[in-house]
């Protein structure tokens, strides 16, 4: 086996040792406490910690994604293999594997009602995906991270005394707090929606494997197991997210976050205004007016271009095609009309 600066056979030996130990463990009595992370994951982590300082940011991002997915599908295979050692009934082994996962979903749903956003992050990695993506997207939007997970600040805002000059401020902060609470409720509903969907995807996975058994097929590798799991999750996800319920939950989540951000921005604008600094509101107005002016300028310019072209067109054929006598006749007619108008005006 060839070696690169990032890989050597020692690492393979570590894995070999792991599986030997695991084999030993699997022969022992049931009920032994399982490590939270498999030694394979630990070995992988050690390897990665050793080489990651030498990698650039982009490489690190990709590697972490690949490692996370790798862990995911081996954990799935690992768990199932362990359960298969203890029973001859594949359905039972699968159920046990997924029971553990179902417990994770249930726990996540429970936690989500207590701590909002954080609950979902503890959910088994897979169904974390959509929520994680939302968190990242929401985090990218201006201002969200200023408030997320800051109950202390939240309490301070609610505790602001509402006397004298601060009365209006207090109202504004209360509205802000209400918007934040509303967002938390919307987020909770969103989390609950996915916790339910997670449970449905487990049933779908069992169904898919059941069908495979009927057709005499087999899952030949950890990767095939993972792919079946992905297919089950996508199928259930698509089914559920096309429903009016999801559309509502999703809409409420986005609207609630936007309402909170808008309120937050208004408060910021008020502060900036008091300091005599330009506010977002003012800048937007200027941008809109500027764009209107540019639009008008463009329209005038193109009208001017059109007129220029028309003038040029008129000039060219008149010079070459028109007989010399005609303009005089026109001039005469115009002159006669002018005289007639003058006479009429004089009579009046």
């Amino acid at each position: 086996m060839s070696e690169t600066p990032f890989w050597n056979d020692d690492w393979m030996r570590v894995q070999q040792q792991y599986w030997e130990q695991w084999g030993e463990m699997s022969r022992k009595a049931m009920g032994m406490e399982q490590p939270a992370r498999t030694p394979w994951e630990n070995a992988m982590e050690h390897w990665w910690q050793a080489i990651s300082p030498a990698t650039d940011k982009a490489t690190r991002g990709f590697m972490e994604k690949m490692m996370n997915q790798g862990k995911m599908f081996f954990r799935l295979g690992d768990e199932l293999s362990k359960n298969m050692q203890n029973t001859k009934d594949w359905g039972d082994a699968l159920n046990k594997t997924f029971e553990k996962m179902q417990d994770s979903f249930a726990a996540a749903a429970e936690q989500s009602s207590e701590v909002g956003e954080k609950g979902f992050s503890q959910l088994m990695g897979f169904w974390e995906g959509p929520m994680e993506a939302w968190r990242k997207a929401a985090g990218q939007l201006p201002m969200s991270s200023d408030f997320a997970g800051t109950p202390k600040l939240f309490e301070q805002l609610l505790g602001t005394p509402g006397l004298g000059y601060t009365r209006e401020d207090e109202e504004s902060y209360k509205e802000l707090a209400q918007a934040w609470l509303h967002y938390q409720h919307a987020l909770m509903s969103y989390n609950h929606f996915f916790a339910d969907v997670g449970t449905a995807s487990l049933r779908c996975m069992q169904g898919k494997i059941g069908e495979l058994v009927k057709d005499g097929g087999k899952i030949e590798s950890g990767r095939a197991l993972y792919d079946t799991w992905v297919a089950a999750c996508e199928e259930v996800y698509a089914e559920h997210t096309m429903t009016p319920e999801y559309s509502k939950v999703h809409g409420e989540l986005v609207n609630a976050l936007m309402a909170f951000k808008k309120k937050w921005r208004e408060l910021q604008d008020n502060r900036l205004g008091m300091l005599g600094l330009p506010t977002t509101r003012e800048v937007r107005t200027l941008q809109t007016r500027l764009q209107e002016s540019r639009r008008e300028l463009r329209a005038l310019r193109s009208e001017m271009e059109l007129l220029k072209d028309q003038v040029a067109e008129l000039r060219t054929p008149q010079a070459s095609e028109a007989p010399p006598a005609k303009p005089k006749a026109v001039t005469k007619k115009v002159a006669k009309k002018k005289v007639a108008r003058k006479k009429a005006a004089a009579k009046q």
Binding site: M66, N68, E252
Partner: protein
């Protein structure tokens, strides 16, 4: 009988293989170098604000269609998808088949562009680009190829400037925005778009990315990185993967006012079908389109379902309407080998017959 045919030692072997590929792949990943954006040589012919109009260099040996073709890309993501790598370039393929190709690159709008409306894009930017090309070629009309949202914009443009369009090609273009299988449409129905735009100004590319990845979150944010491990050791394939990855996450912000109108008038009110849409001072009516129309769509498109595109049939005033169905997805229609062999030549010959 158990459906699982793998033992712990096999799983160990699989893990070992995975780890080895990963370990060896780091080297290739770190040495992948700069990921290019488009491969075909081109010249800048017009610039306005963030927009650049490019003309692509055609091979000398090919006889060119006398009517140039303007590609109008979506405001979402970047147009180098159409020229992503040498053997998978829609643009290069069009050039090889005799088309004289221009493309509008919208650039990256920033907060100062938030007041740009659909009117500014369609009757402003697109119209001026068309005029530049008409003037350069001394022609009254040119050919237009609109892609996805750019296809919807092209339909709007042609309906208002039919006198400047010889032939119109729409690719994976939504027309009916409310087909039952349109996931994106289902998701935006309950969103308060006014609140969204009033709050954010421009719509961040990151948010759009989240939306698109959320359509297939497990495949697009997880499974594909396992597939990436399989190509890590092949420098060429790795580079192709990285190009695609770069494109997916290279998502410009969208001008707020344009986003507002596009989502409200089209996604929420299905404007092409229901009517009542005004772009600037003009009313939108697809019946004003009288030029030949080629409507190309992808059968496995998860972003613009085929029925969303098929809805164009019978809705224009054109007597020459053709459909081309491609057995692939929204992106595959540009980058797959099959698309290079089937779609691009078909578009080209359709244009040649009518130019």
């Amino acid at each position: 009988m158990s459906p699982f045919n793998f033992r712990p030692d096999q799983l160990a072997h699989e893990m070992g293989e995975y780890g080895r590929k990963l370990g060896k792949g780091v080297h290739n990943l770190m040495n992948a170098g700069e990921i290019d954006e488009g491969v075909t040589p081109r010249t800048e012919v017009y610039k306005e604000d963030k927009l650049t109009l490019y003309r692509y260099e055609a091979p000398n040996s090919v006889v060119q269609n006398r009517v140039p073709l303007l590609i109008v890309y979506a405001l979402v993501n970047r147009p180098y998808m159409t020229d992503i790598q040498e053997d998978r370039s829609t643009i290069r393929n069009l050039l090889d088949h005799g088309q004289d190709v221009y493309l509008i690159d919208w650039g990256y709008p920033d907060e100062a562009d938030h007041a740009l409306t659909m009117d500014d894009y369609i009757n402003g930017y697109i119209d001026r680009c068309v005029d530049v090309i008409r003037k350069r070629h001394k022609l009254d009309k040119i050919n237009i190829l609109g892609i996805c949202q750019g296809g919807s914009f092209s339909l709007c443009y042609t309906s208002m400037h039919q006198d400047k369009v010889q032939n119109l090609v729409t690719m994976v273009t939504p027309v009916d925005f409310k087909t039952p299988d349109n996931m994106l449409s289902a998701w935006v129905q309950n969103i308060d778009v006014d609140l969204l735009v009033d709050t954010l100004g421009n719509i961040p590319g990151e948010m759009l990315n989240w939306t698109f990845l959320s359509l297939k979150p497990f495949s697009l944010t997880g499974q594909k990185y396992l597939s990436m491990v399989d190509v890590l050791q092949d420098e060429g394939k790795l580079k192709n993967f990285l190009r695609m990855e770069k494109w997916i996450f290279d998502s410009p912000d969208q001008a707020g006012e344009t986003f507002r109108q596009f989502i409200k008038d089209f996604y929420q009110h299905n404007g092409f079908l229901e009517g009542g849409v005004r772009i600037g001072e003009r009313a939108l009516d697809l019946k004003n389109i009288s030029c030949p129309v080629l409507n190309v769509f992808a059968e496995q498109d998860h972003l613009v379902p085929p029925d969303a595109s098929r809805a164009l049939k019978g809705r224009t005033g054109s007597r020459d309407y053709t459909e081309l169905s491609f057995p692939g997805g929204h992106i595959g229609i540009y980058v797959s080998g099959k698309a290079q062999a089937q779609v691009t030549p078909a578009i080209s010959s359709w244009l040649d017959e009518r130019s």
